[in-house]
Amino acid sequence: MPSFLALALALAAAASPDVALPDPFPAVSASTYLVAVDGRERWGRSPEAPRLPASLTKIMTALLLLEERWDPAAIVTVSARAAREGGRRLGLRAGEQLTARDALRAMLIGSANDACLALAEQAAGSEAAFVSRMNRRAAALGLRATGFDNPCGHDGPGQRSSARDLAALARAALAIPEFRQTVGAARVTVATLGGRRFALPTHNPLVGRVEGVRGVKTGWTPGAGKCLVVLAERQGREVLVVLLGAPDRFWNAAGLVELAFEQTDG
């Protein structure tokens, strides 16, 4: 009987998505983190806990844009509101135009909020309409801890996601070749149709320096702290690391990538 009980408990635990993952690296300086290897969660700390996602939000924005009638050559016109966006920005002026492809690259590599809002407004007619789409898509993806107030990652009462949800969101976006290719770039140059050019290096120092790292997205806000989603591929294996509220995000991510490849089976 005791062995039957143990089996039943084990089965119940395996069936639950909220089973606590091992956290073998207490020195990871993050409020929450998740490491998945080949799509399987291996290590984590409160990966289900909702947190402010900062610019990791832009992964959802990119996913929606790329899924819905994406035309990279379409012309995006910057609204006055988009031109006033705070935080990281290209410095676009109201009325300036650029291709959707360049705006997407500015949003994902430069984390430019002005390009982000311009894209969202253009795609849905207004920021609010785009945010509604984001929330519908999050629900459709089964992201239970995720909700959005805005498309670019500003802190807000309804802006939240978890490490687990962000890993699922990143996987959905990475299935789209244009997203995968864009976030893996170490540097891009974008231009307005008026000829203003912007050289944008990635904010992720792991790209090009840690073997197999394909980038994805960095984020920071005063409320969220430092955040990062990073993908690494080596010899057909894939490690995805999500860190939220992580002062040492880059060093910790580099360490977790190495440890995941070293210590987990294929």
């Binding site: 207490p26 300086s29 040492d248 880059f250 060093w251 360490g255 440890l259």
Partner: protein, 333 residues
């Protein structure tokens, strides 16, 4: 058996035959011989190769040794040479790029001979059929027979290739010593600087701080091989060099070969610091050794658990603290 090995072996066998059993293949012996014509045909792993015929210079009278070969990168030994009537048999074993073993048999009947060689290596088997007949006429052992253009060309080509390889090796070895790169110096297989005149200089420099620091950059495995080659006490050398690396702010050496100093440096210089605030060298160091910040000291972990688990090799007690002290105030980044 790779095609390269086959080709080399085949060429070497023919040259050995051409030069005569008792003559060196790479030069004149000054001794007189008599001209023979030798034909060899090969079957490699069931596949026949076209026969080759050359004229060669063999000693007058009876041959006392079988016509074995020395492939250019092989060291072959002939053993168990037995003669029974007109037939000589022998065994052969070669070290080199590809190890080979074989047996041979040759029957001499007056002015003709016939024989076989069976050679086995990791990549297959090769059977060589040999035959020859005396043509007559004087020749010099170890020199191409006059008028046999193919043999002369083959010898010239081999000599050229040998010289080219020697030049290349000389260049590689000089470069390896200059860079103090153990991986380059030791290389792989038969091509190595080990045992060349460059070894003395390499080993001398490995025992200097500067040489050891440079060699450390090739990674622990290569460093260990180099220390073994040069009979250097790695632990003592490391202690001295790591102290010097701290002073020289040599992150590459600290990263590659100084675990205690590396951990202390990662904790001091990486933790709590954002990428954009660091020098490029330190940023690379922090990325490369990010896991130093995550993996706990095994001793601390086992003490905490109170478990008697076998600890991994670790720095000497207090080494991290000592290193922290040493680093404090020295590294100005």
């Amino acid at each position: 058996m790779t095609l390269r090995i086959q080709a080399r072996l085949s060429a070497a066998l023919l040259l050995a035959l051409a030069a005569g059993a008792a003559a060196a293949a790479d030069g004149s012996t000054g001794k007189k011989g008599v001209i023979w014509e030798s034909t060899s045909s090969m079957e490699v792993s069931g596949m026949s190769m076209p026969p080759q015929t050359i004229r060669n210079c063999a000693p007058e009278g009876d041959w006392k040794e079988p016509p074995t070969s020395q492939p250019p990168d092989a060291k072959c030994k002939v053993t168990d040479v037995k003669q029974s009537g007109k037939t000589t048999t022998w065994k052969m074993a070669c070290d080199g790029e590809e190890k080979m073993t074989g047996t041979g048999s040759m029957t001499r009947d007056g002015d003709a001979y016939r024989g076989t060689m069976n050679i086995t290596s990791a990549s297959g088997t090769m059977q060589m059929k040999l035959s020859g007949r005396k043509i007559g006429g004087a020749c010099e052992l170890g020199k191409p027979v006059a008028g046999d253009a193919r043999q002369a060309e083959m010898m010239a080509r081999m000599e050229q290739s040998k010289q080219g390889m020697a030049r290349q090796l000389e260049k590689e070895c000089k470069g390896a010593v200059k860079q103090m790169n153990p991986a380059m110096f030791l290389m792989q297989g038969a091509v190595t600087c080990q045992g060349t005149p460059h070894q003395a200089e390499f080993c001398k420099r490995l025992q200097t701080d500067e040489g050891f620091r440079k060699a450390s950059r090739a990674g622990e495995e290569n460093l260990e091989k180099a220390a073994k080659l040069c009979d250097v006490d790695l632990a003592a050398m490391r202690a001295r060099t790591c102290a010097a690396a701290v002073k020289a702010k040599d992150l590459a050496v600290l990263g590659a070969s100084c675990p205690a100093e590396r951990k202390a440096l990662a904790q001091k210089e990486c933790a709590g610091k954002e990428d954009s605030n660091l020098s490029p060298a330190l940023r690379d160091f922090c990325l490369r050794h990010g896991k130093e910040l995550l993996v706990q000291d095994p001793k601390a972990r086992s003490k905490k658990k109170g478990a008697a688990e076998e600890a991994e090799p670790e720095p000497k007690e207090g080494a991290v603290d000592q290193s922290k002290k040493a680093l404090k105030g020295i590294l100005g980044f």
